[in-house]
Symmetry: C2
């Protein structure tokens, strides 16, 4: 069904098309701030990023508050102040519905020597792609909201909804402090929210837009093994102690097999069984296994490269990844060291109805048993450093309907309904605190390389994404409360 033309949206879309270079300049400013939340030495940059955004929101007339959410405890025991969370409000018309928007402005680490072709904190456009850390995850989408609101204001059009903003700078590090804040403000800031919208994920492919109704959760673990009080020369000491690295690779090798099967007993106990209806839905989704494989550059995918099984493995089954090790020799070259202490790092993406507490217990019990089997005299510790539940919702409601209509207006196609393998731990909390429908509207494409080298956002997605969010506000305004 074609939608009747909207004069409001025509004006908005024209304004957007006329201001592409301003939007790119704005994104360049945001990317330049190294707001890497997992690096304690870059904490000040995270705070700078919050202040930068606060300033931009003020310019749009948003009443915003920088909320202190306390301190985090680093793995070595030191406390570190968390960046403040921005809570903002724009509009208070009781006849309009209220939409709560969430985004994050912190990023994953990035360094040119890891294989970036451009300086990761200097937004660089090449062939219509805007390369830079955070361009797609999630500074670009956050700015799409700001651009959309500005377009309404500049065209002197009423914003069709009241807006509530929640912007944080700790998403890449478990959103520490945010959950408590949301719960505290349940009866005040969040009281009148009618819809929640989050733009912090990606299309399933490179061309077709989608809307997302489910996310996996995340349980992140540290394994610590200590063999000595200082790093040792492997020539002088090698052969006389059982080295921590040797225990560590043993433990890490007991977690997952080459087929991606998690070796931890009972880990899948609470995973919901696949229904026939679900299987049918997955079969209908537009997803090219070949494109996906090419994008990854992987010699071979798991699950015999079956489309449905691959999608289910990304969205509705848990997976375990070993990320790395702290304390080992990790530079180029040939250092002959016996590291005194190594911290192995892995995480499990969890799914409905897995509970982080139960997952933690299964992992800790298993590793304790494996450690006992190993019979090492070294010191060993395993801990879950953060755990967040998965989220899934029924998309048959007016929030999704508005987003479908907005997508058709901008992209002229019906979006696929997808789930997402990544985690936005706070999604579930938004649902609990507002008791309203939460939608994820992705802006970027599948090949944006979030968390990877050469992260980018296509210029097309940034600009059409701005229009998409403007159109979503328009459509949701028509839906009413």
């Amino acid at each position: 069904m074609a939608l009747p033309e909207s004069r409001t949206l025509s004006l908005i879309f024209k304004y957007v098309d006329d201001h592409v270079l301003n939007y790119i300049e704005l994104l360049k400013e945001a990317v330049a701030i190294k707001s890497v939340s997992c690096s304690p030495h870059l904490r000040d940059d995270c705070i700078t990023m919050v202040k930068w955004l606060h300033c931009k929101l003020k310019a749009l007339g948003v009443e915003a508050e920088e909320c202190d959410v306390g301190t985090q405890t680093l793995p070595d025991g030191r406390p570190l102040r968390l960046p403040p969370v921005i809570l903002g409000s724009l509009g208070n018309d009781p006849s309009k519905p209220t939409v709560c928007i969430y985004g994050h402005i912190d990023v994953q680490p990035a360094a040119q020597e890891d294989g970036w072709h451009t300086e990761p904190f200097n937004l660089t456009e090449i062939d219509g792609k805007l390369y830079g850390r955070g361009a797609s995850d999630d500074k670009g989408p956050v700015l799409c909201w700001l651009n959309a609101i500005q377009a309404y204001q500049k065209q002197e059009l009423p914003i069709p909804v009241n807006l509530k903003f929640v912007f944080e700078a700790m998403e890449e590090s478990g959103s520490e402090g945010l959950e408590d804040l949301l719960k505290q403000r349940k009866e005040s800031f969040f009281q009148n929210v009618d819809y929640v919208c989050i733009s912090d994920n990606y299309w399933l492919g490179k061309d077709k837009p989608c809307l997302t109704y489910g996310l996996r959760g995340l349980c992140y673990f540290f394994i610590e093994v200590t063999c000595a009080c200082k790093d040792l020369h492997s020539g002088v000491y090698g052969g006389t102690i059982n080295e921590a690295m040797s225990d560590m690779v043993y433990l890490l090798s007991r977690l997952v097999d080459k087929d991606g099967t998690i070796l931890i007993p009972n880990i899948n106990n609470d995973v919901l069984p696949v229904t026939d209806d679900e299987r049918r839905q997955y079969q209908e989704i537009d997803f090219s296994v070949l494109d996906y494989k090419t994008e990854l550059g992987s010699p071979s995918l798991l699950h015999k490269e079956d489309k449905t099984k691959l999608l289910m493995s990304r969205w509705r089954f848990p997976s375990l990844s070993v990320h790395g090790m702290e304390g080992c020799f990790s530079d180029p070259g040939t250092k002959t060291v016996i590291p005194r202490k190594v911290i192995g790092k892995f995480s499990i993406r969890i799914v409905p109805n897995q509970d982080p507490i139960a997952v933690e217990k299964a992992v800790v019990d298993y590793l304790n048993k494996e450690w006992a089997k190993r019979g090492s005299s070294n010191k060993f510790k395993v801990s879950m450093v953060h755990g967040a539940k998965a989220w899934v919702t029924d998309p048959r409601n007016s929030n999704y309907e508005a987003a479908i209509r907005a997508t058709k207006r901008v992209y002229n196609t019906e979006p696929d309904m997808t789930r997402e393998g990544g985690s936005i731990p706070i999604t579930l909390t938004f649902q609990e605190v507002t008791d309203k429908s939460v939608i994820l509207i992705p802006i970027g494409a599948c090949d944006d390389g979030a968390h990877s080298q050469n992260e980018k956002l296509d210029r097309r997605n940034y600009i059409q994404g701005t229009k998409l969010l403007a159109a979503y506000l328009y459509e949701i305004g028509k839906m009413g409360k």
Copy 2:
């Protein structure tokens, strides 16, 4: 047998005692230059270090040449110019014996955040210990030679021998380029050498000096596994590919067990059997297992903490250490990345009569088989990045006799005759090129922490070490050619 007092040595020793602060100042200068040979970005500092030493040698009247030894190839294929090797000569009296001295002025990496209590490149004295990277390995011992020669000159005493110097800045990275140079100069620079002396190892304990007649060799390996063309977000992609880290920890866990036994078949085939005579020698050595264990801070040592077995495991049996991994997430914090390519690093200390070529074959064959067993579709590569033979000699000759007499003069005790678990790959080449006796005279103590955090050289060892080398030159002068 007490040695008759020597007027020459009394004068030298007095001069040394009067110039302690100058010597410490000199070592501070040397430590300040970050000559980390395994870090390509610090290559210029290695070259600066060579030039600094060249300048100091010139001041002593040494005729020195900076020999170009070409380029090395980095693991990523790029060529990198090697620092020049210094060849120097002092004295040409046909009536005196000629002693060839070797030392190195490059160092292992060091950073305060790794757990140093002081800035590693700022020599800092605390309670008679001189803390700084390279203080003991091997800048301190190199400067002991310079100090000793200067003392002869300032006291206007004839240096009792002709001297040849070989100083390099690539020892910590396999002495690349040096072996070829030594072989090229066999008939020229090295023609008249009568004795070779190397100061680049440590006492067995903290108090008793020793002389060293054996070293282990080193075979260093890289294992490379690649699963994708870029690092991936573990949420988005986890569950659909077999991750490189998972293969890597599997392979690394197949190398050595918790008792230090190397799991590679045939690896010990060529290790010389222990003789009864050898066993007796080991039993006589002054070595406190408890002190050693305390120094390491290890909960438990291997080999049931038996003294002889521990010493043999350090000196005359091979050992395998897993050093680390390049490409994995190694910073503090919780990055949720699937690394696209990881390079696992391990080395085997080899002993007489193991041959690096045979060790390489055993390792590569084994890992190829383990890889086939694993059945992974990822890309895999294993390579030996350098291999160096072990060295052992019969210490019953006048080179060792002179060093024993010198030790008695300075420390008033008979040195233990030891072997060393570490590797100075070039030792064997010196023996082959000169066909003369090679001795290792350690200057530092067992707890100096070479390659470790808080490397130090005791002020006592630096100053008495200067006297020891001066006395060695005196005694070897009396031995004649």
